[in-house]
């Protein structure tokens, strides 16, 4: 999330202050009314005393009527105590309610009020109360709760907007905060009225409340229309006020058949529209995992908030039970929704969205399952208590295994089991050559994550990048860190689970490489020890041989001793290398051949391959080829009686080859294979190479060719 600069922080403070002002106004207005100082409630259609601090009327007794100081009296009715003005069966009912409220509030300001109530023994009693203006302490907890939640939602909306002011989604979300705040505050004020409120005020509150409710719905619809993708051009959002404002006005001007056709119906239609747009957003984002995760957050949080609201408020009402939770408290569920939407807009850990989404979905499904079972059992005739218990049991039995199965299917399926990857990991750790190793590693990563992009990322630490669009797999040994992007061919995001899995893969690989390294080091050390022991002795002896042969003018023997010494040098030097580039080999060969041939008095023509190349040869291959070449040259120097030597080396896409040509006496008539030739043939065969002798007029030619693949086993 970006850091806020100074200006938005000031703006946030300003909004916070405005919000506080609204709440303070609500509190002040609520305190302006007169009240009786006691709490009444509607129970089973009767008005009952709930609490009286001054103990004038016992708790639980029915209160029948009020009588003001000016003589007007009114029979109390349960409908007077309804805590919200959302639904009335008809407009005349609504009008009557307001009229009664007006009468009641007039009584409350008239002076002494007489309450008529029924005592336990059935007699009617009268209590006299003087209504007082309210004090701060008399305001119910529910009022404070509603105000607090509404303010919090408003501030969340503003804060998210200030984080990303340039996005349409956050702008509209901020816009939803206003009707939510105003609607909640007015609703709280309506239900906080102690028995009655001046009808003038009440009507105004009712109007504002219903407008806020419709506006909230409309802005939520607009939100789903524009986040994460703008489904239509921005100007189409103007259709929403164009539809719903007249609708609200129609309700206010009583143009509709019944009040329920007004606000309730409007809100329902907005819910339907929101669902439709959510569906469209879902389909539109099938290729963008990031947006998809965001819309999931939305849907989950809205689903959660609304379903909790429905469970506690609407469904009980359908079954005829009282609300499980007073609407004032139920508004807390909107907070869940707001937090969820805020997290989605703020792109918070969207890459972990998958699992959270499934968890919530499965929870809601489980709860629904229990309730549905309960309903079925109740219909089947069981009493409420037993049916609930049985449905819980059945639900548990069915739910948990199902959840397990679904969970494994949806979430775990994507990551392969660690054990199954061990063979591939060891193949990587023990691969010969860093390019082969790199190749295997990349192939494994591609197989597991199916990324659209994969490339090296030097110097990067492992982890998730770009809200889950990318991931860096840490490097180990010679393998550099790898950057992957767009998992699952662009269909999903990388999750924390993926990051931990890849980290443990690299860790295991590192351990294996360490084992290999120790082994190779041990082998190298041992080899070096053997060679060191060998060369000191042998080197000196061969030198002695070469010197004495030289002195005795035995040129052939001297050359033989020298080439043996060169063999020894090769073995000593190659034993410390891992792989030699062909270009290095060719350079060394040339120099050695040049000196040898010159010493023997011949001329040399040496041709290098036409192109430079990065091909390397393993130590064994290098040694074998050196010896074959050396032997071929020895044969020319000792047997061919030649004057000129021509050596051509070639390198193409598949083969490395060289030829040794001389202008001497050529191959003998009877091709008796002497020890040198069979030795050369054996060496060539051991590396899958071909070796051929050909007689030229005059002279002889040896052709050697090896496939490039055989150079690095």
């Amino acid at each position: 999330m970006q850091m806020l600069s100074k200006r938005p922080t000031y703006l946030l403070l300003l909004l916070w202050v405005a919000c506080l002002a609204v709440c303070a106004a609500a509190v002040w207005l609520s305190m302006q009314q007169n009240w009786l100082g006691l709490r009444l409630a509607a129970v089973d259609g009767k008005v009952q005393m709930v609490s009286d601090p001054q103990q004038r009327i016992p708790q639980g007794e029915e209160v029948l009527s009020l009588r003001g100081a000016d003589g007007t009296s009114l029979e109390l009715d349960a409908s007077d105590l309804i805590d919200n003005t959302d639904s009335f069966p008809s407009y005349p009912d609504k009008d009557e309610f307001f009229a009664r409220q007006d009468a009641l509030s007039t009584i409350l300001v008239s002076g002494e009020v007489r309450l008529r109530w029924i005592a336990q023994d059935g007699s009617e009693r009268v209590a006299a109360v003087i209504p007082q203006p309210r004090v701060l302490g008399s305001i119910s907890t529910m009022f404070w709760f509603t105000l607090a939640v509404a303010s919090l939602c408003f501030l969340i909306a503003c804060w998210v907007f200030l984080l990303r002011p340039q996005e349409w989604g956050t702008r509209i979300f901020a816009l939803t905060g206003i009707p939510l705040l105003i609607g909640s505050v007015t609703s709280a004020m309506i239900s906080e009225r102690a028995l009655a409120m001046d009808a003038h005020w009440l009507l105004m509150l009712d109007r504002i409340n219903s407008l806020a409710g419709v506006s909230l719905g409309a802005t939520l619809v607009a939100l789903f229309m524009s986040y994460p993708r703008m489904l239509f051009a921005p100007k189409f959002t103007l259709w929403l006020p164009a539809i719903y404002l007249p609708w609200w006005l129609a309700d206010q001007f009583r143009l509709l058949p019944a009040p329920d056709w007004g606000v309730m119906a409007a809100i329902l239609s907005e819910l339907v529209l929101a669902s439709v747009f959510a569906m469209m957003q879902w389909r539109r984002t099938s290729n963008q995992p990031l947006e998809r995760a965001a819309i999931r957050w939305f849907i989950i949080s809205v689903l959660l908030g609304c379903s909790l609201f429905a469970f506690t408020n609407i469904i009980p009402r359908l079954f005829g039970h009282p609300d499980l939770l007073i609407q004032g408290y139920a508004i807390g569920f909107f907070l869940i929704m707001y937090i969820g939407i805020a997290l989605g807009l703020g792109r918070y850990r969207l890459f972990d969205m998958d699992e959270w989404a499934y968890r919530v979905l499965l929870w809601v499904a489980g709860a629904t399952l229990v309730l549905v079972l309960d309903a079925l059992l109740v219909i089947a005739g069981l009493t409420f208590g037993i049916s609930f218990g049985v449905s819980l049991l059945l639900g548990g039995w069915l739910y948990f295994p199902l959840r397990q199965r679904l969970w494994q299917h949806m979430v775990n399926q994507r990551t392969p089991r660690f054990e199954s990857l061990l063979p591939e990991l060891s193949a990587i750790a023990f691969a010969a050559g860093s390019s082969a190793q790199q190749g295997y590693w990349e192939a494994l990563l591609r197989r597991i994550y199916e990324p659209l992009e994969l490339h090296t990322a030097q110097g990067e630490a492992g982890g998730i990048r770009d809200d889950g669009l990318g991931m860096v797999v840490p490097g180990c040994g010679e393998l550099p860190p790898m950057y992957l992007r767009h998992a699952g061919h662009g269909a999903r995001l990388f999750s924390s689970r993926d990051a931990t899995f890849s980290a443990s893969l690299t860790h295991a690989l590192e351990r294996m490489m360490g084992g290999r390294h120790s082994f190779e080091e041990g082998a190298t050390q041992e080899r070096q020890r053997i060679y060191r022991d060998l060369h000191d002795d042998m080197g000196a002896k061969l030198l002695g041989l070469a010197i004495s042969a030289e002195r005795a003018n035995l040129n052939k023997e001297a050359d033989l001793a020298r080439s043996a010494l060169q063999d020894l040098r090769d073995v000593v030097s190659r034993s410390t290398h891992t792989a030699t580039p062909i270009s290095d080999l060719l350079a060394d060969w040339r120099m050695e051949t040049e000196q040898r041939v010159r010493a023997a008095g011949l001329t040399l023509e040496w041709r290098f391959p036409e192109q430079d190349s990065d091909i390397v040869a393993s130590p064994e291959a290098a040694l074998n080829m050196s010896r074959i070449l050396r032997e071929a040259i020895s044969n020319v120097l000792h047997h061919a009686q030649a004057g000129h030597l021509r050596i051509h080396t070639r390198l193409d896409d598949h083969h490395f080859s060289f030829s040794v040509e001389d202008d001497g006496i050529g191959l003998p008539e009877r091709a008796t294979p002497h020890r040198g030739m069979s030795g050369m043939r054996a060496r060539a065969a051991s590396m899958d190479a071909t070796l051929q002798w050909r007689s030229l007029e005059p002279g002889c030619r040896v052709d050697f060719s090896v496939p490039l693949a055989a150079l690095t086993p």
Binding site: A540, L542, I547, S548, T576, D584, D588, Q595
Partner: protein
């Protein structure tokens, strides 16, 4: 060349090398030593020789030590490594210590003579393996506390590393054989200087100096 020192623990090699030196330079005064202690004692008692052929594998140490000492105390002496092995692990330390050339003891006499004359003349040998090692040593990534190779010198090394001979390289670059030998000599000098500089840095960092 008036005086020469041969340091080798094998008698045959001593004779061989003496023969080569005598053929290369007329009227040479030779001294032969079989181990480091003896050689050091002789050097302490006598003036430094004009040319020294030093074997690496000696019974009481490596010839590299003597090369380093001669480099410090008698920089005018032409130190040449005479060895069986020409691989980098053996030769490069000697070159860094200040050897101005090397020869393989098993080469035919005429070639050794030619090599000696060449080195004395300022034409040190350069093999592909040595050239590769030198290129690696003078990588610009290391701290340039010492003189780096010039562009020309790097070019020469690269051709040698590929397998061209010195004369061929001279032809390709369009310079005379004399000039290219000068480059080779300079490269060895820089190698020696760089090693001394590195040693000084190491000593400083260890707190010795």
């Amino acid at each position: 060349m008036k005086t020469a020192l041969i340091l080798d623990d094998v008698a045959d090699s001593q004779i061989w090398l003496s023969q080569a030196l005598n053929t290369a330079f007329d009227g040479l005064e030779l001294h032969r030593s079989g181990n480091l202690a003896e050689a050091r004692a002789w050097l302490a008692a006598n003036s430094a020789p004009d040319i020294a052929l030093i074997d690496l594998g000696l019974p009481d140490g490596s010839g590299v030590e003597l090369i380093a000492e001669l480099n410090r105390s008698a920089p005018k002496t032409l130190s040449i490594v005479a060895s069986i092995f020409d691989d980098n692990e053996h030769l490069f330390p000697a070159l860094r210590a200040g050897a101005q050339g090397y020869l393989l003891k098993d080469q035919p006499l005429p070639q050794i003579v030619e090599l000696l004359k060449g080195i004395a003349d300022g034409r040190p040998p350069l093999s592909p393996a040595i050239a590769r090692k030198l290129l690696g040593h003078f990588q610009p990534t290391q701290q340039p506390e010492y003189e780096q190779l010039t562009k020309r010198e790097s070019e020469v090394l690269r051709y040698i590393a590929k397998g061209m001979t010195l004369p061929e390289t001279a032809r390709i670059l369009g310079i005379s054989p004399h000039t290219i030998s000068g480059y080779a000599k300079n490269i060895y000098r820089k190698l020696n200087i760089s090693s001394r500089a590195e040693a000084a840095i190491t000593a400083r960092s260890l707190g010795i100096i």
